[in-house]
């Protein structure tokens, strides 16, 4: 099964780091980064998948972003058609340690895990192993 990654993070540095770590893990992984969550959402909403069930898109999503924060993103994502949703696994990547927020996030059906920043090769391996 092929893997592709979508990184949604307002910080340019964090996008750079995520891309680097993902590419270091395997040259075969596709990485797309978005600093603007609205653009990322539009892209997901309008993407066509003619029978492409062999690709899983892993979304690494930051929480505090202008225009659309991580919570709003997840809420909007869960309103998309199930056909679209099933191509994606959302993992929250944030510097937060707020227990309330973390529990609230894990309550969303589409959120697979909450990862504390900074992203490291080991943390990425956990995501890949637990697909």
């Amino acid at each position: 099964m092929a893997l592709s990654f979508i990184v949604i993070d307002e910080s340019e540095l964090d996008c750079f780091i995520a891309r680097k770590i993902i590419q270091n893990a395997s040259k075969g992984f596709d990485v797309e980064v978005f600093q603007n969550p609205l653009l990322a959402f539009d892209r997901i909403k309008t993407e066509n998948y003619p029978g492409k069930f062999d690709v899983i898109h892993i979304i690494l999503l930051d929480l505090q972003m202008p225009l659309m924060n991580g919570f709003e993103f997840v809420e909007a994502f869960e309103k998309l058609e199930v056909d679209i949703q099933q191509h994606y696994h959302i993992h929250i990547l944030s510097s937060t340690r707020n227990k309330n927020d973390i529990n609230r996030l894990l309550d969303y059906a589409s959120v697979f895990s909450v990862i504390e920043k900074p992203l490291t090769a080991e943390k990425l391996q956990l995501v890949i192993k637990n697909l």
């Binding site: 307002e10 910080s11 340019e12 540095l13 964090d14 750079f16 780091i17 680097k20 770590i21 270091n24 600093q35 603007n36 969550p37 609205l38 929480l63 505090q64 972003m65 202008p66 225009l67 944030s94 510097s95 937060t96 340690r97 707020n98 504390e116 920043k117 900074p118 992203l119 490291t120």
Partner: protein
């Protein structure tokens, strides 16, 4: 002299009401009611009634019952019961239940009533003060909550980014990639630094005193201009300043500077990079003891649905540029202190105009 203390006296015997009013009306503003509905009417019409006297023996309802009811809808006025010796059990009960502040024995003498009013008024003031302080505390507490929340993102965020970068630097051999990452690390640190400087502004506004001095806007603009000239030149933004001041203007200079520099920074920051003709314009006009300042840009504009929120703490309406969510909140607070106000006019993709009006102090 301050206004007279407002007092409501409730008693079903008209001669008691007349007596009460006659002896106290010179020093206090007295409202009288011979029935409970009349009493409630007074309370509705005069939110600032401070003290209620009520006779224990009223037709249909005891004074204690009335107080128990009234304290739910009107918790602020201090309640004093007037009662004969035989009602002492009811009085004790009422005091214990916390329905009344104190009681006066019937027949009352003026000196007792006046001392009761004095005490009750002190109690009322302490209570109201407490309420004001409580509201202030609640506001401070809410902001503290926002701060605690933002610390994890705005302070911890850049730090975890730097840690992540150091981690992967060990595995990068390409010097160009290292340089690119150093550039991003620097940007991240600058953002953190700006956040801390803004936080400092926030605190000085909250705690700082005003220092009023004569303001010469032309001189003030000469101080501010060099802060933007490099940025204007590099990004090809035309920066024009116009000052019309023929009269004296007095204000707190540091608050004024904070307002202007935040608005100017935004005007430069949120330019539309694709546009050929980019400009920032500031016009200051001092007339009839007030300054009207226009700051106009040819920037990206603010979405109508965001305009109501841009002055909120930590609100950011744009992802294109690095903002802390402090700037306009600080502007709003500074204007509050100076008794000024601000209006925004913005058209998407054309630009924004901020109009600030500040009275001379």
């Amino acid at each position: 002299m301050s206004e007279k203390i407002k007092i409501l006296y409730v008693d079903d015997e008209p001669e008691n009401l007349t007596g009460f009013k006659a002896s106290l009306r010179l020093n206090y503003q007295i409202f009288v009611a011979s029935t409970i509905p009349d009493a409630l009417q007074h309370l509705r019409n005069h939110a600032d009634i401070r003290i209620i006297f009520c006779d224990q023996r009223m037709p249909g309802k005891t004074g204690v019952d009335f107080f128990e009811e009234v304290r739910i809808s009107y918790p602020l006025p201090v309640r004093i019961l007037i009662t004969g010796y035989t009602d002492i059990e009811a009085t004790i009960e009422a005091i214990n239940k916390g329905n009344i502040f104190r009681y006066i024995k019937k027949p009352w003498v003026e000196v007792d009533v006046i001392s009761a009013i004095d005490e009750a008024n002190k109690f009322y003031l302490a209570n109201s003060m407490l309420q004001v302080k409580n509201e202030e505390l609640q506001k401070a507490y809410n902001e503290l909550n926002k701060f605690a929340y933002s610390v994890s993102h705005d302070i911890r965020g850049p730090l975890t980014g730097l840690l992540g970068a150091i981690n992967i630097a060990r595995e990068i051999d390409n010097i160009d990639e290292i340089k690119e990452m150093l550039f991003l690390m620097e940007k991240s640190l600058n953002k953190l630094d700006a956040y801390i400087l803004n936080m400092h502004d926030y605190y000085s506004l909250q705690r700082g005193e005003l220092r009023i001095s004569d303001i010469n806007f032309a001189e003030l603009m000469d101080e501010l201009k060099p802060l933007y000239s490099v940025h204007a030149k590099v990004n090809n933004i035309n920066f024009s300043i116009e000052v019309l001041q023929e009269e004296e203007f007095r204000c707190d200079k540091s608050s004024l500077k904070l307002i202007l520099s935040n608005l100017l920074s935004n005007a430069f920051k949120y330019q539309d990079k694709a546009k050929e003709h980019k400009s920032v314009e500031i016009i200051v006009e001092v007339k009839s003891a007030q300054a009207t300042i226009y700051i106009r840009d040819t920037g990206v504009g603010i979405l109508g649905s965001h305009i109501g929120e841009i002055f909120n703490l930590f609100y950011r309406a744009n992802s294109q540029e690095v903002g802390s969510g402090f700037g306009l909140y600080n502007v709003k607070n500074a204007l509050l202190k100076l008794n000024g106000h601000i209006e925004v006019n913005s058209v998407m993709h054309q630009g924004s105009t901020f109009k600030v009006i500040i009275p001379s102090i």
